[in-house]
Amino acid sequence: MALNGDEEDFEWEPPTEAEMKVIQARRERQDKISKLMGDYLLKGYKMLGDCCEACGVSRTGPDFKSCVMRGDWIWNVSSDISPALTSSAKISFSRSSVSSQAGVSVPQPRPEHCEGAAAGGRALLPPPVVASTLQPALEEAEEAVLTKLRWATTQLQSSASLEASIQLCSLIGSCANSLRSLRELSQ
């Protein structure tokens, strides 16, 4: 943008193609994370003060804390990027209330509202007892599906038959859908 950029051109070396790809990927990832966070905040989620320790690990508990990196499409994107960039998205969120109402609630001057944008207001969270009995079952199911997924992948690599390959691919697709449903349940 500078008008007198001619003198700078002699000192500046353009980045290599690999560096450009890394820079571009990093920027896109950051933008996507920021956009996701912004979406969550506008829907009434609360930005917590603690950070996600490991990328992709979802914490469950009374507050239903989760890392913004959880989510299938973000998981797929991050797997394409260089491992140096897969640092965790250090901000975690919690759903402060469960609400069926869409949109963002107003910080309007009413006693029931504090300072935030929770559309559902002060709806109570589901009791923790339900989460504690459901969680081990979900983890077991997830483990089982992952095991089957790994087995199907191994079989697919060594398979020579067309029909068997098609069936293995459909099995892998079903496992992926099951995993997605299980993770949505656990959130």
Binding site: N4, M47, G49, P109, R110
Partner: protein, 639 residues
């Protein structure tokens, strides 16, 4: 042991980027609005950055700190919340990139992260130091000549090319309230200012007064079209009469203001009452006797007021039923629970002092009113009164603003826009350059704030314009749409280039370059929907800059001081294209304050490197004041 968490530069950037992604959706002329919904089903559309950010649920301490800074800045300048976050995020991104590239720039550290954090802190400190010392001169020399000064002395007149504060106000209301009502509110605002303008006095005095008294000077009415908003003479007290109001009398009325209770309050919990008669404690006189004594004292007070001809009582506190009965019997109107702001305004306009001791009522406590009658606004009855001889005494025509809107939220939005307009005007009236400075032909090298401070020697120097004076200009405005950012970017770039050439070190990048790069993010977002418009706007602004820097100072005309009586100051007008006025106007002083505030917030953010988790919530004063601000507006609406 208190859990401690280390904060890294990437955490800070991520947090601010999340806030940036929210405000970007509403930024610029093409920005959208956020839909707010309430539990009661009420909805509101708003693109006010301060409102959006304060509505978010934020537990993260850094995010809360940023929102607090935005709120404070907006409270003072009335505008620029979204630009604040945008500029802050852009600066953080650039500092992060610079620190990541050269983490051990200043001194070696054991870990890369510590080095990056230290480098970022140094960069932020250098930026703030540069802004506090050099930025105002750069703006005065390179930005002000391409703007012009607006006169704030005559609000209703329109000059030849609409170079008046009306254009500035229209731009402001357009960004806040949309195209539909900007002209209407501009006219209403100017009418209000002209009523309250004190003759032969500075316009900033009346604007400051209106800003301070605005809560008492306006009434929000919902369920009525916006076009019904108007001015009414006198003052409106947002309470109803507690006693029946007699018919309107033609002669001037007398009124007094009470700060306390007319009837002494009886015993509260844990109070001890000693009843004495002379020197002995009497046991046969009980509480009933005391209570009847207090009622007789009320009658005595009412009789004293009647002797003075008082017929209107304004009370700050809720009075007892005995007082109400006595006032009704005496034919006096009583209004209780009047807010402190309204009492303060009443006493300023009437020139009386409130009565704190009911046994001492003097003539200086008695105000004269032209009328005092009930006024129905929307669904609420209020008290409407006007002052006798106010125009002769104070040289103002007091009036109150009635803001109408279909919903409460919209009325509140309009009221906030009005108040922010006062703040914006006050900031616009502040001069950019505080002191007159004479720049010599060469300046010692300590003025060059480069990154490698140790390398600067006495021989190095910066080239500056010779023999110029920074003049205190007020009311300077420039066309909106990124003109300020483009001009300042170019000026900073030139300054940084001259510094790096003079220091003669290839690795030195002046901090001015960092700020220059960050400033461009603002017009880039304004024209984000069309990159071609961005390039066109930049080309148009760059064409204004003369190729020879000395030509600038030759055309710069000096003035002796602040604006005189309604004359346009001698800012350079020749290069101003009238087409720029279509984009609207913005105040240079507001922009300058914004840049300073962003850099201060940046320094505070980067100085935080650790988070201590406590088990109790620690409220700071500003957090309490922010909550108090939200709660006080709740209380007003509930009434």
């Amino acid at each position: 042991m208190v859990p401690v968490e280390q904060l890294h530069l990437s955490h800070v950037l991520q947090t601010v980027s999340a806030l940036e992604s929210i405000v970007l959706r509403s930024f610029g002329p093409e920005g959208g609005q956020v839909l707010f919904t309430r539990d009661t089903g009420q909805v509101m559309l708003s693109r006010n950055g301060k409102r959006i950010l304060t509505a978010l649920h934020l537990d993260h301490p850094l995010a809360r700190m940023v929102v607090r800074c935005v709120w404070k800045h907006s409270t003072i300048t009335g505008d620029g919340s979204k630009t604040f976050v945008l500029l802050l995020a852009s600066l953080l991104r650039i500092i992060h990139a610079t620190a990541t590239k050269e983490p051990h720039m200043f001194q070696p550290h054991n870990s890369t992260e510590a080095a990056e954090a230290a480098t970022a802190r140094h960069l932020a400190d250098r930026l703030l130091e540069f802004a506090l010392t050099e930025l105002d001169e750069l703006i005065v020399l390179n930005v002000l000549p391409h703007g012009f000064c607006v006169s704030l002395d005559n609000f209703t007149a329109e000059t030849q090319h609409n170079l008046s504060c009306q254009t500035l106000l229209v731009s402001f209301f357009r960004t806040r309230l949309g195209y539909a009502y900007c002209d209407f509110f501009r006219n209403l605002f100017c009418e209000l200012l002209s009523h309250w303008k004190v003759k032969d006095d500075r316009p900033s005095f009346s604007i400051q007064f209106l800003n301070n008294s605005f809560p008492a000077l306006h009434t929000q009415v919902s369920g009525v079209p916006v076009s019904c908003s108007r001015l009414i003479e006198g003052q409106v007290i947002h309470r109803d009469f507690a006693t029946p109001c007699p018919q309107v009398r033609k002669q001037p009325l007398k009124a007094v203001v009470f700060n306390g209770y007319l009837q002494p309050k009886l015993l509260a919990t844990q109070d001890v009452l000693e009843l004495r008669c002379g020197d002995k404690v009497t046991e046969d006189r009980g509480i009933v006797h005391f209570s009847s004594w207090t009622e007789r004292s009320v009658e005595s007070i009412i009789a004293t007021l009647q002797s003075f001809g008082v017929s209107v009582l304004l009370c700050a506190l809720k009075q007892s039923s005995a007082v109400l009965a006595a006032a009704t019997q005496a034919g006096m109107c009583l209004v209780e629970c009047v807010s402190d702001e309204e009492i303060s305004l009443f006493t300023q306009l009437s020139g009386v002092t409130p009565i704190s001791d009911c046994w001492r009522i003097h003539p200086e406590h008695i105000a004269t009113l032209t009328f005092c009658k009930p006024l129905l606004l929307g669904a609420h009855r209020n008290v409407h009164l006007d002052f006798h001889d106010c125009e002769e005494r104070l040289k103002v025509k007091p009036c109150s603003l009635v803001i109408c809107a279909p919903s409460e939220a919209q009325a509140d939005q309009h009221a906030c826009a009005f108040q922010d307009a006062f703040r914006m005007l006050l900031t616009a009236l502040e001069p950019v350059c505080k002191t007159q400075t004479a720049l010599e032909e060469t300046i010692p090298s300590k003025k060059c704030t480069s990154l490698h401070a140790d390398n600067i020697s006495d021989e190095t120097a910066c080239r500056v314009h010779p023999h110029q004076k920074c003049v205190t200009e007020t009311g300077c405005v420039i066309s909106a749409g990124g003109t300020f950012e483009f001009l300042l970017h170019h000026a900073l770039h030139q300054y940084g280039h001259s510094c790096s050439v003079s220091v003669n070190t290839s690795a030195v990048v002046p901090v001015s370059q960092l700020l220059a790069k960050a400033l461009l993010s603002v017009p880039r977002q304004i024209y984000s929907h069309n990159l071609k418009h961005f390039l066109q706007a930049q080309t148009r602004v760059m064409a204004l800059i003369p190729k020879q820097p000395h030509a600038l100072c030759a055309n710069f005309i000096h003035t002796e001081g602040p604006l005189g009586d309604g004359k346009l100051s001698s800012c350079k007008k020749g290069n101003i294209s009238l087409k720029f006025l279509d984009l609207g106007l913005e105040s240079v002083s507001c922009k300058y304050q914004l840049v300073l505030a962003v850099l201060q917030c940046l320094t505070n953010l980067l100085q935080t490197n650790m988070v201590l988790r406590t088990h109790t919530v620690l409220h700071t004063k500003s957090h309490d004041s922010l909550n108090a601000h939200l709660e006080s507006s709740e209380d007003e609406d509930e009434d």
